[in-house]
Amino acid sequence: MEKRRKLVLSALLLPGALWIVLLYVAPSILIVIYSFLTRQMGGGVIWAFSLDAYQKLFSYNPDSRFINDFVVIFLRTFWWGLLTTFICLAVGYPLAFFITRQKAGTRAVLLFLIIIPFWTNFLVRTYAWKFILNNNGLINVILSSLGFRRIPMINTPFAVIIGLVYGALPFMVLPLYAALDNFNYRYVEAAQDLGASYLTVFRKVFWPLTLPGVVTGSLLVFILTIGQFVVPVILGGGKVSMIGNLLAQQFGMAFDWPFGSAIAVVFILLMMIGIVYYIRVEARKEASS
């Protein structure tokens, strides 16, 4: 009986498992293998073991700002990821809160407005930003017509960050909205009743109870952002790259597949370390309660 149940259960799980293996595990294994092979000029790999890719990735370059240009790109990507996450949180939390406090009709309209941009290609929307930030763009035209000096914005890190925040904001707002909408305001009343001021209520009750939404939104935004490569190209003018650009370059123009694979492997490893650490902290929190 027990055995039969297990059999049925496995049969039910099979399609899902197959799906994951085919689409996620197999390509990942392929990438790991490629990263240890030899480069073939003009694309592809030669099936001979080589550590060249990793050597290249970690070699010291005295001309670079830090170790070598690849490491600089890694650091910049993570730093921009953090910055974007933080800005999205700072903008998204009050925004999501504001939406939850509206009447049902208004709320639906506002949520709709947040989702609408998804109906247009991200590339197109990013080009739109180019027209806003250009030297002859919307902002600068307005500035100069008001008699101010034009501010160069396009092709700067500032423009890239704007684009990154713009692209990721809905992914912050939607989970936050879900968390804030689920929040039971009876807890706020209870805290106020016991003498907590507005700030204390936020700190001790509101924030901790909406934290799951914050974590979900932040993870989504961070992961999405560090994988970006469209925004640095269009709004950064290709002057400041992120890991995504580096990868695209290796597989596209440079045709160094093992090196591109090595970058991807290191990238995935770093992410895995972060996620495992997060899970362990959460598990410890669970255990202590």
Partner: protein
């Protein structure tokens, strides 16, 4: 100014066009166990929420210890609430929940722990202090809510049907415990309930509410024995109503006639009662005696003849419904005290006499 713990002066709350609370005035004494009693939707919770500060007043003023507080936010009022659904913070342990009000003040760690410990002991929960609310039973959550609300010694404790989520056994045990706790703490309790038995059992005084208004305020005895109108008489306990005509009015008594029979004497302090007008006589079922044959010695008793329409035996009591010859019918609650009591042998269709002390019947006008 005065020494009331809580005073409501002409307090109203309007939701749109709807008057949820309509010009209520209450004066609640220091250390009193005061209940707001009324059916669902009569405005009990709204009244409580205005005292706590969660709801703005549409009109009137609330005084705590003589100070007007209608403009103060909840956290500036020394009033704590035990919510109907308890509203325990799910992300905090029992200890953190109970200590919340102390943790946000500048209470020293040792004093904080001391007070939390003491109040947890009082509600018998010391052994569960590291649990989360989700790991507690309903009764335990209720105690935590209580402990959390009294740990910082508020002047007034507001309780919104705190026992309604508990099963009957636990509810009865908690009634007694709550009453004892209130005496022990000496805090003014304002207790909301729609359960009249609960209110009668625990309160020093009760305000019976009806559609946003206060119908009557008084001690449980007063409310039970001297209801001011039909609504209160009907809501509290079980009552017989007999339509009547008023023949004559005295100081605090009246002579009335039910049907065509000889007049009855009843107590009355109803304003608006006048000779010739219509009224209703109320008599509680347990105040009525039932007789197999005409009693020899009647003294000051009112006697009426009738026929048994229904009989229900429930062990401790026997309940009769008797249709009176002069019109109307009464329910009679007869205690099964004597073995071989001929009354218990009575059956539907039997002719009987019923009687009561004349003071047990009361004339109401509306």
């Amino acid at each position: 100014m005065n020494n009331y713990s809580v005073e409501l002066e002409n307090v109203s709350k309007r939701f749109g066009d709807f008057m949820a609370v309509d010009a209520i005035s209450l004066q609640i004494k220091e250390g009193e166990f005061f209940s707001l009693l009324g059916p669902s939707g009569c405005g009990k919770t709204t009244t409580l929420r205005m005292i706590a500060g969660f709801e703005q007043l549409s009109q009137g003023q609330i005084y705590l210890k003589g100070e007007p507080v209608a403009h103060l936010p909840p956290f500036k009022r020394n009033v704590n609430t035990v919510f109907q659904d308890y509203a325990l913070f799910p992300h905090m342990t029992v200890d953190q929940n109970v200590g919340f009000s102390l943790d946000i003040q500048n209470t020293t760690k040792s004093e904080r722990d001391d007070r939390v410990e003491r109040v947890l002991e009082m509600v018998h929960l010391t052994h569960l202090k590291d649990r989360r609310p989700s790991q507690l039973s309903g009764g335990q959550q209720q105690r935590v809510a209580l402990a959390r609300a009294v740990v910082n010694q508020p002047d007034v404790l507001l309780l919104d049907e705190p026992l309604s989520a508990l099963d009957l056994k636990l509810r009865q045990a908690m009634r007694l415990e709550l009453k004892q706790l209130q005496r022990q703490l000496g805090i003014t309790f304002i207790f909301v309930t729609h359960d009249q038995e609960e209110a009668l059992f625990m309160s020093d005084r009760i305000a019976v509410m009806d559609k946003g208004k206060v119908a009557q305020i008084g001690s449980p005895g007063e409310i039970y024995d001297r209801p001011v109108n039909r609504y209160v008489a009907d809501f509290i306990g079980e009552t017989n109503f007999l339509e009547c005509t008023v023949l004559e009015m005295d100081q605090d008594a009246a002579t009335v006639q039910v049907g065509e029979q000889s007049p009855w004497r009843v107590t009355c302090d109803a304003a608006g009662a006048r000779a010739g007008g219509a009224g209703v006589v109320i008599v509680r079922p347990e105040k009525i005696d039932i007789h197999v044959r005409m009693p020899a010695e009647t003294g000051q008793r009112i006697i009426a003849a009738g026929v048994i329409r229904d009989k229900v035996w429930i062990g401790t009591d026997t309940h009769f419904t008797v249709a009176l010859e002069q019109g109307g019918q009464v329910r009679v609650r007869h205690q099964n005290m004597v073995m071989g009591d001929p009354v218990i042998g009575l059956n539907t269709g039997d002719r009987v006499q019923v009687s009561w002390q004349w003071e047990a019947a009361r004339l109401l006008i509306d």
